[in-house]
Subunit: 163 residues, 2 copies
């Protein structure tokens, strides 16, 4: 609609990000469900996700951010850690609705959650990124993350076991 | 001392594993400090680790296992998760004192923590393993873990940012 896509981009990028509350559970559930659909991963469905989010968002260990109009969501879980004074945050999900990508919403979500984590005394923020998803790896590197760890600058693989 | 190293190996492998309590904090701190020393990673030191472990082990989100005589330790943190009914466990550290490796202590620790996690309704157990540490990757694969995820059987890299 606009003759100035760059200005649009700048406008969207500065949209405010807010921390979600339990009342946002159904909106977040819808976004996470869409997310799984896009990547062909089974989803427990919006009603189940809503009910879980209602409980999780009432606790301090799950923190969620929404961009205005819920065009993007970031979901973080916080846990204690023996190696540092402060806790560790894991960015479980970062999702932007497909047609609004490239407008800076993901970056605004990351910037906000990193700033809040720093204020809360968090020591480390972690993310697991698919090996083939080089764009996401670059995105996280631009936002201060690294996939190289320790004295030998090694990569680490994420291993898991479903019970 | 024994003429039958295989029997020794079997004996050690069946040594009981117990869940640690806050009273074990100093012993666990010593093991974790040794661990970091072995891999040239800075450690906050035994007194600081002891004090953190005393608080962490008093909470339900940090779970620690010790083999008899503290020859090995496994440290797990538990957090909620939106994708599954049950929580997610992360195996933060698994360490066996060098001279007692190859005796099955690590395997006994893993077997016990997986069994307890299943009983506690945990949905997923996670571990981050260095890319070059192929032995550790094989060890975890033997114990039911996989580094390949989702419909495309992809690997995922662990990214982090220190604050």
């Amino acid at each position: 609609m606009s003759a100035h896509p760059t200005s649009d981009k700048q406008r969207v990028a500065t949209l405010p990000i807010r921390q979600a509350s339990a009342e946002d559970a159904v909106v977040i559930a819808g976004l996470l469900h869409e997310f799984n659909g896009e990547f062909d991963v089974a989803s427990p469905g919006v009603p189940a996700l809503t009910s879980r989010l209602e409980s999780l968002l009432a606790e301090r260990s799950t923190i969620c951010y929404l961009s205005r109009c819920a065009l993007g969501v970031a979901l973080v879980t916080r846990r204690p850690n023996v190696w540092s004074e402060g806790p560790v945050d894991l960015l479980d999900e970062l999702y932007v609705v497909p047609q609004y990508r490239g407008l800076g919403i993901g970056g605004a979500l990351i910037t906000r959650l990193v700033a809040d984590a720093r204020d809360a005394g968090v020591s480390v923020i972690e993310i697991n990124v698919d090996e083939a998803d080089v764009d996401a790896q670059r995105f996280y590197e631009r936002h201060g993350f690294t996939g190289r760890h320790g004295p030998s600058s090694e990569r680490a693989f994420y291993f898991s076991q479903e019970l």
